[in-house]
């Protein structure tokens, strides 16, 4: 290995070390199973939304692709999971989840070629158009999908034949959390690999990235496919835990809300989507209890204010908060990862 190659390897290895903050995050996440036994429904939704936002972050935060139609993958896999269970093609939920995720990844692969071309506006239109198209298709083939009434009569078999989806949502939540954690580990491995570094570089400047020998288009296709697959797994989880799937999985609002989730949490680091999902769900629950009908107004208000204040500044605050938590963890004498010496990735 060359000298530079070794540098990159040690740099990546140092960055990829688990910080105390991360360990605390996941301990806390799994502790919610016992901490909030009455809140499984909203916790499940949060975990699914977190995974969905994580998938968007992979293309938006790491590769710089703006998408207004990420719900396409979510919905496609949601319907796939629902249909697989309804017609008893694949009874095992985990296997069905994988198949649905793969279906969404396949869609991601096919549509990635459309997304490669054109400016931001073209990308917006194409991603939005794909999601709307799929929504129309689901509406058109209502004899399969139930059309506007939604896909009914789905019954999900127990996970591994052992864990039933109980009516309190306990097993469903644990299932979602475990899947979220596994997907997170895969994503984490990916963004801290040379592959992840190359994504960051081509987000910064595609022209220069290609000049130093990074195959820009192939990288974009790869990450778009993976992101589609993760979004699909999130969609399939929603269908499996609710045993229902309706046309609104494809809706524009779903994609737009997702952007807000990611913006609240911050783009370009993996916890952004997860933290954003927690804050978003909490806010939604709180505002909806104040003004049930008009909570959308405050969602819009939040978006406008965040942009006017400046996204960088908001993300700067959250980064500062993270840093202080990190220092706190270090001060407690936990195993620490020196970070300051490394060259910044962006």
């Amino acid at each position: 290995m060359t000298e530079a190659g070794k540098d990159v390897a040690t740099y990546l290895a140092r960055r990829a070390r688990w910080s105390p903050f991360e360990i605390a995050f996941w301990v806390l996440a799994f502790a919610t199973i016992w901490l909030f036994p009455g809140k499984y429904l909203i916790l499940t939704e949060t975990a699914i939304l977190g995974l969905f936002a994580l998938s968007l972050d992979l293309i938006l935060g790491y590769a710089g692709i703006i998408s207004l139609g990420h719900a396409a993958f979510f919905g496609l896999a949601g319907y796939t999971a629902g249909l697989l269970a309804k017609y008893e093609l694949i009874n095992e939920p985990v296997l069905a989840l994988l198949v649905s995720g793969l279906a969404a990844a396949a869609l991601g692969f096919v549509t990635s070629f459309l997304v490669l071309r054109g400016s931001d506006l073209t990308r917006l239109m194409v991603t939005l158009g794909v999601a709307l198209m799929l929504g129309e298709l689901a509406n058109r083939f209502s004899n399969f999908t139930g059309g506007a009434d939604g896909l009914q009569g789905v019954s999900i078999a127990p996970i591994f034949g052992v864990f039933r989806f109980d009516m309190f949502g306990h097993n469903g939540y644990v299932y979602c959390l475990v899947i979220l954690f596994i997907c997170f580990l895969i994503a984490r491995r990916m963004v801290y690999s040379p592959f992840g570094l190359s994504l960051r570089s081509l987000k910064g400047n595609p022209l220069r990235a290609s000049a130093i020998g990074i195959p820009v288009n192939r990288r974009l296709i790869a990450i778009y496919t993976v992101s589609g697959g993760f979004a699909g797994i999130a969609g399939a989880l929603l269908t499996q835990t609710t045993a229902f799937c309706s046309l609104d999985v494809f809706s524009f609002e779903r994609s737009a809300d997702l952007l807000l989730v990611l913006i609240i949490g911050g783009t370009g680091y993996l916890y952004g989507g997860l933290i954003g999902a927690v804050i978003y769900k909490f806010l939604q629950d709180w505002i909806a209890s104040l003004t049930p009908q008009y909570w959308q107004f405050w969602i819009g208000f939040a978006l406008v204010v965040i942009v006017l204040i400046g996204r960088e500044r908001v993300e700067g605050w959250s980064a500062a908060a993270r840093a202080s938590i990190y220092r706190l963890g270090k001060g407690l004498g936990a195993r620490s990862a020196p970070d300051g010496a490394a060259p910044k990735g962006h």
Binding site: L124, L137, R140, Y294
Partner: protein, 286 residues
């Protein structure tokens, strides 16, 4: 058959008036304004309030809708949009989606979520029958007004001094600024005028498109199609795109009611893949 063509043209003309402002602002400032439909909705509701509640005659309600919406547009442009021009496209998208959500909820709060109808004067109801083609009087009026507006716009952009400033600013903002053109002012004027046009379109179209609080979301994709397919560098491109879209949509709804929207989205994606800068755009566009 010809009735469908006629209805399609009326619908397309309407779409053009609605989307013209968007295409200019997008071309001029490279600003993605997803909230354009909100201005159209403002115009529609303005007419509903004026004509139905205050008893203003319909013929006066339309220009008032234009003026009110243009004023709203100008205020928003100076107060909010100005801060977002220089930002990334992602910020612009987030900002304008936020505005859309706010407008939807606010209108729902003030006016209720039910569909609104503008009372159209007796003289405009009913149909003409020309060579066996049923032509509704109201649609004929729409074609007339929108046709005049289109010609007027084209003349204003190609013949007047303001129009040449506008074209210069679209072609190259920096050089235009260097020549002493106040690009910010040109843009503010254009934005207000485009919003006004959208408001007028919303007022005219309340009858055909339907007017309820979700209007900006429902028609956002249509406006974007017009702009993306037509390109942003001229008036003719969006105009042709609107007419095509209008005819395709009406025909699609008539012949294949369940597949109509699907066909339109497919065509849009194919066009965008084939010509990312728009069907009628000049080849070298920024």
């Amino acid at each position: 058959m010809l009735t469908i063509l006629f209805d399609g043209i009326a619908y397309g003309m309407l779409l053009f008036v609605l989307a013209a402002g968007l295409s200019i602002t997008l071309g001029l400032m490279n600003f993605i304004n997803l909230a354009h439909g909100a201005f159209a909705m403002a115009g529609g509701y303005c007419t509903v309030i004026l004509v139905n509640r205050l008893g203003v005659p319909f013929a006066l309600g339309l220009p008032l809708a234009f003026v009110v919406t243009a004023a709203i547009g100008a205020v928003f442009e100076r107060a909010l949009y100005v801060h977002v021009y220089a930002r990334s496209h992602l910020d612009q998208v987030l900002f304008t989606i936020g505005l859309v959500f706010m407008s939807v909820a606010a209108v729902d709060y003030v006016m209720g979520s039910s569909q609104q109808f503008v009372t159209i004067p007796q003289a405009l109801q009913g149909q003409f029958n020309v060579f066996g083609i049923g032509m509704s009087k109201y649609r004929l009026l729409i074609i007339l007004i929108c046709g005049l507006l289109t010609v007027g716009l084209q003349l204003a952009i190609s013949k007047t001094r303001f129009g040449s400033r506008l074209r210069a600013a679209v072609d190259d903002r920096r050089v235009a600024r260097g020549l002493g053109i106040n690009v910010g002012a040109v843009f503010a004027m254009t934005f207000a005028f485009g919003s006004g046009l959208a408001g007028l379109g919303g007022a005219l179209g309340a009858e055909i498109l339907g007017l309820d609080p979700t209007f900006p979301l429902k028609y956002m994709i249509y406006f974007l199609i017009v702009v993306a397919v037509g390109g942003t560098s001229s008036i003719i491109g969006p105009f042709l795109a609107s007419i095509l879209l209008g005819i395709a949509d009406v025909a699609g709804k008539y012949y294949a009611p369940k597949l109509g929207a699907f066909v339109i989205y497919t065509i849009m994606i194919v066009v965008l893949i084939w010509r990312p800068q728009g069907l009628f755009a000049r080849s070298a566009s920024r």
